[in-house]
Symmetry: C2
DNA sequence: GAACTCGTTCGGGACTGTAGAACGTTACTC
DNA sequence: GAGTAACGTTCTACAGTCCCGAACGAGTTC
């Protein structure tokens, strides 16, 4: 559910509200939807009709659900990202090599978006999904990006989203976050010590393009009991950094 | 680009036209977009503003592009499909086992949609992408679905889309197609003999749910010179059929 | 510095999306 | 099997809003 403060085109906002509701409800009928988005049945019906004609929604024996046309849109959108194009295979490589979960993140509207993910043989089962949008300050991936954004941009993002506590270890103090980001800039490595999920630690590195601006980040994540000591402090960071460099090089040659 | 014949909600149709154009153009500015969708700049601007606020569009130094929020939508939409949930790993399995390309298809609005795809070690490079929507009569995957749809449904689809020639081998005659589908029903196997792409042959099997209605299909595809003789006639069909059965069983136990 | 672009803002008028009531069906309940 | 409730859908009229053209400020290019 998107929170919209100032008004845009009403009909468009409503259409997307309906799409999102449809997704949340795992498909629904007109009346159920109407209750959920708090609009008259007829209005919802009208929207569903247009969405169905445009093939963004499918009607199956009386209930509506979002169609896979969104898959088409998102695939072409994602393929346009250099980060995904060259990073994808490296994420798989990293997951295989470490046996853990590896992921790719980029920033949109001040939040971290999981662009891709791959699971190694030992990978923890609980994790977020591709496409998920999370507060950017509570993951290694997010902090790797945040640290290398222009100062004004970073400030704007923190101003807008603030630093909500996602977990007991989440950094909620602006000063402490800046300190942390300073060391991220020095080492080109960011850590997440159970700042988003209990029992999950991760290591991430930023990915910079030819002009030294961040386009995303890459990480390895695993259960705390495996992510410690030498492995957590030096081994994994070196591996991640190496792969980040490979991606950076490949991006400049395309 | 979607062709819309009868009018729905104008603003919604236009919003999606803009999203699609944005995707086609790989990101664009207001003026360029306005020219492309043939609308006044101010109208396009108004839409982009709304879409940006709703986070479906991202503005980056003066140009707009579709955001990865579509990825979030499409991932949850896809995860709702039983076909994808249980079929995904089997497609990977099939691709690995045969060394070729394996794919999953479902039907929406009378067209075939590629839901997932995996490439084996020998896999042909040229292929369609996940999310692509193709005429349903010109692929093995599509014919496997078509053959097992209820008669009225199949007739409606063919009436609506007709049988355009996609390639020199495409079946364009209704009678011939029905004959073909009859043998598909008998064997539970559909073939594509370069009916969509030159040099590409494939074998597909339908996937039925507990009530014997088709929810999709699975295939193996490869270059004609490898897809022939015993392998094409019996070996691959048996493998595909076996895996289709595994998927069907798993679907009924969830 | 003129003459192009570009993105953006603004306001009034035409149109259209909205909402509520009403219809026909289906699915329950008693 | 009548009665009731919920469903999806259709219709109409009015209020509201989306749309467009014109105008503005900011960059570029010649």
């Amino acid at each position: 559910m998107t929170t919209r403060d100032s008004p845009g085109i009403q009909a468009v906002d409503r259409a997307f509200d309906i799409v999102e509701a449809l997704n949340e409800l795992d498909g629904a009928g007109v009346s159920e939807l109407a209750r959920h988005v708090e609009l008259p049945k007829s209005t919802v019906h009208n929207h569903l009709d247009t969405l169905e004609r445009a093939e963004y929604v499918v009607r199956e024996n009386g209930t509506y659900r979002t169609s896979l046309k969104f898959l088409q849109i998102s695939e072409t959108a994602r393929n346009q990202h250099a980060l995904y194009e060259v990073g994808r295979s490296e994420v798989e490589h990293l997951a295989e090599k470490t046996g853990e979960i590896s992921a790719l993140m980029t920033e949109e509207h001040g939040r971290g978006v999981f662009v891709y993910r791959s699971r190694g043989s030992e990978a923890a089962r609980i994790d977020t999904c591709i496409g998920d949008r999370v507060p950017i300050h509570c993951t290694a991936l997010g902090k790797a990006i945040l640290a290398f954004l222009p100062d004004d941009r970073r400030a704007a993002i923190i101003d807008q989203h603030e630093l909500p506590a996602v977990n007991h270890n989440t950094i909620t103090d602006r000063g402490r976050l800046e300190e942390d980001l300073e060391t991220v800039r020095e080492r080109k490595i960011a850590y997440d010590d159970e700042e988003r999920l209990n029992g999950l630690r991760s290591v991430a590195a930023p990915i910079l393009d030819g002009t030294d601006s961040v386009i995303g980040s890459i990480s390895v994540a695993g259960p705390t009991h495996r992510m410690k000591g030498e492995r957590f402090e030096t081994e994994l960071p070196e591996t991640v950094l190496g792969i980040a460099n490979v991606i950076e090089l490949n991006i400049q040659h395309t």
